[in-house]
Amino acid sequence: MEYRINEADGNELNVVFTGDITFSENVAFRQLLKDLGERSVKKCVFDLTAVDMVDSAGLGMFLIAKEQADTSGWNLSVTGAQGHVASMLKLTKLSDLLQS
């Protein structure tokens, strides 16, 4: 997994992921959350267009991100999920949770 943070607009960030989001990306993902925590964000979009696979630990990381967003008062959503990633989000109904 790799990610790039794009500043879309003053308080809006776009995080573009590539590769697989799995158990082994735990450390990288936590670093991302730390980075996000240090910026003043109002809205953040995880772009999953280029992600091929997400496992249960990867979904767990999205939940952690969602929790951090809720407690720090910013908005998190995911976009672009397709194939396996889209069906995982749908299967676990996390697509509902990570909208809005």
């Binding site: 799995t22 091929d52 696979m53 249960s56 939940l63 952690i64 194939g83 396996h84 299967l91 109904k93």
Partner: protein, 405 residues
Amino acid sequence: MSDNTDKKAIPGRVDELAAEIRGAKILIVDDMALMRRMIGHCLEKGGFTNLYYAEDGQHALDLIDEDIPDLVVLDLNMPRVSGYDVCRMLRKQEATANLPILVQSASETPEERVQVFDSGATDFVSKPINQPELLARVCMHLENKFLIKNLSDFQASMRAELAMAREMQHSLLPEADNLAAIEAEAGLTFEAFYRASFELGGDLWGCWQMSDDEIGIYVLDISGHGVGAALNTFRVHATMARFEGLRHDPAAFLSSLNTAVQPAFPLGQFVTMFYGVLNYKTGKLTYSGAGAPWPLVISKDGEVSRLDSSGTPVGIIFSASYDNKTAQLKPGDSLFCYSDVLLEAPGKDGQFLGEDGLLDQVSRLADEGARTEMVDRILKEFYATLPGALPDDLTAVAIHWGAEA
């Protein structure tokens, strides 16, 4: 230890370790009494007190035979048995194959050094004895020995702990006797496989007989794997036992389980699960899903369909709700539940298999042999395509209902 203040620290050595290695037992082997005394005195000054002495090679071998020291300081040229032969003999025995042997000798030609190491010596000190050098080398080899011992002791005890935990975890899985009893009563055949990717796993499945011609079956996968996930399998297993009264109603069972475990579940961890109740007289399957991979129903003539197991995984949202769905099995149908690792196997085009790939695989393999060995064929193919170690825990359970074995 510290009350003996004249034991000064040895330069360049770690104090904590020095305290530990000073209790080491050292055998000093030399045919000259003066040399034995000199070496002994030098080591005593370095804080070593557990010393004993041998006057020649044979004497040394006899003493070592009785009581193996932690280190030997060995002379080469001695009557009866030489230092070289002592080295060779000690290396041949398993108990002393790794014993640190420090050889001391007066002549120091390159040829002799080669000979010394060839015979199995650990290291070499020159004669006449250079006290700081002797002490430094003795300490170094003892430190190595103790560090390796500590490490392998620790590994051995961790391995034993994990093996015990693994046995405990396996005891959560259905017992063969119970399954056989259900098979006989309900006229079905189980095919079940479980394998953790690490010593401990985060997968679990189970099956219970209920009254009214029904059996309940669940398959669950706790996010992540390893020790943390394994501990959560115990938590979930114990919690499920509290809701025995709700077993006939899958949605209510999942809702209660979720409400009970959610407050205790750490953020980012959850359980994907499928729970179904099969009436083995009528073939009616009532089930509820919490985000488990789609269970497959394989009809008698090999047609594969999926069950909708979508739902919020257990442990995320306190107020999550679950629905009951139904399916009708016909005699000869199979119900196949599995953990998502099966979807992660590499497919033909370098991509991973995915839902569609698995569906194709199952429909291809379902009737390539006996239906009751279907899962076996699927897993054989899975392992054959797996490039390395199992990346996640694997559970695969099939119920072949009304199938003739």
